[in-house]
Amino acid sequence: MTLRPNVCKTVAVAAIATVAGSVAFAASGTKETHPPLAPLPPVPIPVDNPMTPEKIELGKKLFWDYRLSGDNSTPCVSCHFPALGWGDNSPISRGYPGTKHWRNSQTILNSAYYNKLFWEGNVTSLEGQAPAAAEGAVAGNGDTAMMEMRLRFIPEYVEAFKKVYGIDWPRMNQAYQAIAAYQRTVVSDAAKVPFDRFAKGDKSALTDAQKRGKALFEGKAGCIRCHNGPLASNQEYYSLGLPEYPEFKSDELYQITHRWEQYQKGVPEAVYRTADRDMGLYYQTMNPADIGKFRVPSLRETKYTAPYMHNGLFTTLAEVVDFYDKGAGPLPDKSPLLKPLGLTAAEKADLVAFVESLSMDEPLIHEDPKLPGDYQPLK
């Protein structure tokens, strides 16, 4: 097995896809090349949602504001909590009161770099992700028109929207734009990420174990085949043959959500009647070949974002590495890329050490903002 990491040309580009360089990876006798791991480029900013300090500040308040949910219970932050790695620390997201969700609440750290959001990649921007979460029946369960009207009765918001957007009354699409703008500030600080310091020339930034782990990552373990580029994700879809979250069998609320998801995603009735797993990308394409495929997550900041996988099945990185070492899961549709790796215990420990070097030395925490006050009568 040969490995020839190219020198990464660090270029200041906005779009991740244009980062130069590649890693050659040889497996099963065929040569593949992959974009190398690298420091993140500047955050890509959509031309129709430019960043301003006022918009970011507004978005931060909205991200925290409980009034952007069906019953004041579930603002964005309740499932994307800074101190819990900007997730909610449970295998499956808590969901709206009276429901349980069915997938793991993903970290929003570095979500600015994805062009496929959610585990099945069903939206392509943060501007599209925010309403799906705030209004989804097992997430925020908010009503667009109700939340919009609530904002119009909070004078500080009316003023802030006027300042940011030049409009008389807040609108939800602009609220979601502001939330997206705020989320584009929730990104790793390269100066605090050992791997990024290493990549920029500080050869002492990685320990020897991490350096060995890096070689395994890019070589014997083959992680680089999917977890590549600055984000450590190629944003493609694969099935890992991962078992279902066991509580689908033993918890009524999970069963309700599980059926609801099949129903509302519009699968054929025969599929709904027998659905006993989360089919991932299949719901987007309705192509049986896509059953069980999920979008590759970034490996950045994973030190702080346990548990792992789309259903939170693993609580530690060591368990995840074990899983891949065994050739991933038992389900028959798993990707042919996944084969037993034959790693030693020491190699597995090195791999975990390297993955941890993709996280900041200290977790990124934002303080709670001061939320605007109560609703006021209209003049």
Partner: protein, 377 residues
């Protein structure tokens, strides 16, 4: 100047009640023809109803009291339509879904089966109970539930699954739209029983007191009530402008103004952010002639259903009679009645004779969710 005779008043009101049939969000809004009634309108006993399907009613009764029909389990239908409070909620303005407050009164469900239109602005037709229930379950200010989640919750209750088969046939399992229909079937059973007026109209002279009989004469004559409050439930099912004063809490409590203006926004009403009154059916029709028009409510079971009017602004029946005696409120289409105190008391006595025994309904014990075999859906 002529006093308005009941017939002239009726004709005038009927012509004002003209409204175009419009489609809004896929819901049929009833078109009301602009024709004067051929005969002088009068009150009538409640007709017999075709009995509903027992299994549907039984199922609907469970669902009516089941909080799992709301998004966060915070409310059931019975929260705002409480049997102990005349199937309303006893408050001037309805509370609504947790974290919201509504801008109109929760109407009683008594005699819903006989109604020609639903909701205070009469925007749904009386034969469209399924849509009415659907709107209550799914609207953000009432129960804020996704109908498909409700469907899947029902499927998690074996007792409901069994009742569904009983109601709809073998192999039929809980299905969103039938949820709405079965709740409607239950609501259709909540009808007046043993009201003195029905006995009287069927020939029992002793069923009404002398005072109530005087009140009936005024109702049909000098007071002119019968022009709009006619037929078996004493409602013409049409919309009229009586100038009921605004309830101060609608503008005073921003939570209520939020639901009011949201209703306008989602109805597509022009210039809704500048509205500061309850415009009634205008929000639906956008016809300026409908500004301030509300549907005539039934006068049955008033004893159990205070406070009164679309915004609960009057706490007692004498207050309501006083309001009409003065010719209604600002901007209304009514004339003063010049009733004496004794006449007003008679009218109230008559109105009270329209109330009978509330149907005896006990909230059922709600069955729990049970595990299903995963993958057998």
């Amino acid at each position: 100047m002529k006093h308005p005779t009941p017939r002239r008043l009726a004709a005038a009101m009927a012509s004002m009640g003209m409204a175009a049939g419009v489609l809004l969000g896929g819901l049929a809004v009833e078109a009301i023809a602009a024709e004067a009634p051929a005969a002088a309108p009068d009150i009538a006993p409640l007709p017999e109803l075709k009995p509903g399907k027992e299994a549907m009613i039984e199922l609907g009764k469970y669902l009516f009291f089941d909080t799992r029909l709301s998004g966060d389990w915070g409310v059931s239908c019975a929260s705002c339509h409480d049997p102990a409070k005349g199937w309303g909620d006893g408050a001037p303005l309805s509370k609504g879904y947790p974290s919201t407050e509504y801008f109109r009164n929760s109407p009683t469900l008594f005699n819903t089966a006989h109604k020609k239109t639903f909701l205070w602005d009469g925007r749904l037709a009386g034969n469209d109970m399924g849509t009415l229930v659907r709107d209550m379950i799914t609207e953000a200010h009432t129960m804020n539930a996704d109908g498909r989640i409700v469907q899947e919750r029902m499927k998690q209750v074996p007792e409901y699954v069994a009742l569904w088969e009983k109601a709809f046939g073998a192999g039929k399992d809980p299905y969103g739209p039938s949820t709405f229909n079965v709740v409607g079937e239950f609501v259709k059973t909540l009808n007046s029983q043993n009201a003195p007026i029905d006995k009287y109209l069927k020939g029992d002279e002793s069923a009404l007191s002398a005072e109530a009989k005087e009140g009936l004469a005024l109702f049909r004559g000098k007071a002119g009530c019968v022009a709009c409050h006619n037929g078996p439930i004493l409602s013409d099912g049409k919309r009229h402008r009586t100038g009921v004063p605004e309830h101060p809490d609608v503008l005073g409590n921003p939570l209520r103004t939020i639901t009011l203006l949201r209703h306008y926004a989602t109805s597509g009403m022009p210039n809704y952010m500048n509205a500061r009154t309850d415009v009634g059916f205008y929000a639906i029709s956008k016809d300026p002639a409908d500004m301030g028009r509300f549907a005539t409510p039934s006068l049955r079971e008033l004893k159990h259903t205070a406070p009164y009017m679309h915004n609960g602004v009057f706490a007692t029946l004498p207050a309501v009679v006083d309001f009409y005696d003065k010719g209604g409120g600002q901007g209304g289409a009514l004339k003063p009645l010049n009733l004496s105190d004794a006449e007003k008391a008679s009218l109230v006595a008559f109105l009270e004779s329209l109330s009978g025994d509330p149907p005896s309904v006990q909230a059922p014990k709600i069955p729990d969710f049970k595990l299903r075999e995963f993958g057998k859906n």
